[in-house]
Amino acid sequence: MKITESLTDLWLRIKSLALRRKLHHDLEDELDFHLAMRRQKFERAGMPPSEAAAAARRRFGNPTLRHENLRSLWTFAWLDSLARDLRYACRSMARAPLFMVVAVATLAFGIGANTAIFSIVNGILLRAMPYDKPADLYFIREGLQHGAERHIFSAVNSGNVLEWTRRARSFQSIAMMMPSNDTIVMGSGSANVHGLRASASLFPLLGIHPRIGRSFTPEEDQMGHGLEILLTDALWRERFAANPEIVGRRVSLNGFPTTVVGVLPPSFYFPKQDQIYDTSTSHWSSPVEYFLNLNLGAWERKPGVGNANFAAIGRVLPGVPRQQALAELETIEAAIGRQETDEYSLHAELVPLRAAIVGPAESRIWTLMAGAGLVLIIVCVNLAGLMIGRNAARSREVAIRLALGAGRWTVLRQFAAEGLVLAAAGGAIGVAGAFLGVRFLVRYAPISLPRLESVTVDGRVLAFSAAVALAAGLLCSVLPALRAKDRGIEETLRSTAASLTSSRRTAFVHRLLASSEIALCTVLLICALLLGQSLSRVWGPPHKR
């Protein structure tokens, strides 16, 4: 079938789905019309009316069958049977409210935990850094080597950065920055704010354009061009009431007159002050609220060993491998180092931007994800245990249905439908909980994780939750049903016809269930403890290295 034909087919079927009653009437009318015409023809040929009607019907065949045949062409047969299965599942769940509440609550917990943790994985690890071609961006660090021992500084010498910018051919551009904490005074109010001195090259390098005004010019990198400030969207809203006329206004920064040149877009993200270095210090742990022009003094323009106060980000030219860029920096570094000392040699290192920012947290986040996955598996196994108990009580119902001619596949599908109804309810509650939890997490940041701002329940997270819920629903319903299948119908009917407790086999099954429940609960407890331990490690202060 050609693609256009498939599309026509799909469209007409969807239309008929929306107009089910109309489809029914149309089919009926069309077939009735045919029957009537045929009868008329027979009558015209001289048959008595009653005989004509009978003859027409005889030739026509079973009208209900004809109708059904045509209807099946127009509808999605699986949709009808799915709807039937789901309706039945809802009814049978409503008959066991306690079981339903327990199952839905357990699933909600498991799916909610996985949704929340996955939104962290998604926001921090999976989503690309919000910059132009982020894979080409590297933090550049400096190091000293004495014999076999290399010591990496957390920062670089600003004069050396100028040297790289001048001489390194592998880089499209290199930017440098340095934290700066100031008191800003505007009008009558004042506030302590946290920012970075940054070179003009930073914003083109990241591919970021201010929402109003401009970013810095290369001349403003040098001292003597005055002080200029670029506000983040948050600071602009918080301290300047989102004033659109802000550009060109003067504020006082630590007593120095400073001109506002622009405001960054709300989507702009930058690591916290300390994340631009290799180490974490509580002094520089604030989010960046503004950028100041670099304003580099003459003493800061001299290359040399030590005096490392700045952080540097480089963008390598497309297609240039990291090794090549690094080799070039190493050559320049060696030359700078030789001019000062023979005892040490000066070196450079390139750390991919993503690794530098989220790297330290990566393994801890995956530990969390694994823990959440474990909890979900235990939830499923526990629920499957409950299902087995429930199925044992229902084995008679199933046996009767099988005896009455229901296919095993039909019965299995019925169990799956129950699992899906449970998972859908649990999933909805779990996702709602995770949504609130993630909002709380981002708002109050009780844990120290990089890029926490970008953690949200987005489409990818919802797709993940749906997949998890589907898998959980099938796992906890189909597995027990498969196990229940292999008992013969006749035996089940006979054994359950007698009193339940008198059957030795049933009693054995019950004992087995009870003991497996206890075993599972123990496992659950241990896993929960382990998870708690890893949680406290993530929640706690970051590791010093």
């Binding site: 149309d26 069309e30 019309f33 045919h34 009537a36 004809r66 045949n69 045509l70 099946s72 062409l73």
Partner: protein, 113 residues
């Protein structure tokens, strides 16, 4: 659950589709009219079963080769009229060529045997 269609091989079904398309070349018609036309034209050699005709019509409609509209018949009853679409016309052309090839081929074999 089994819904058996009247025994009609792929070739027979395609042939019925072709006959339906050909019949509708004259203009819009309802299902009964199509059946009658084919029977008359073939001098009662071909008898079109309702159990095959309507599924064929609906399948062609779903494929977009036919379009259907509700109208009023000669005896002033509500009836569903089918007509050829552009895609249906194209299909009919292709079917015609193919049918020509097959029928001459079969005829040739039957003559020589």
């Amino acid at each position: 659950m089994e819904r058996k269609e009247p025994p009609s091989g792929e070739m027979l079904r395609d042939t019925l589709d072709m006959l339906v398309l050909k019949t509708l070349q004259k203009g819009p018609m309802h299902g009964y009219g199509i059946a009658e036309f084919i029977e008359e034209r073939s001098e009662d050699v071909l008898r079109v079963e309702e159990g095959a005709l309507y599924p064929a019509l609906h399948r062609l409609e779903l494929r977009g080769l036919l379009a259907a509209e509700w109208g009023v018949s000669d005896n002033r009853r509500r009836a569903k009229f089918y007509r050829l679409t552009a895609a249906g016309r194209k299909q009919l052309e292709k079917d015609g060529v193919r049918w020509g090839l097959i029928s001459t081929a079969i005829a040739r074999i039957m003559e020589t045997a």
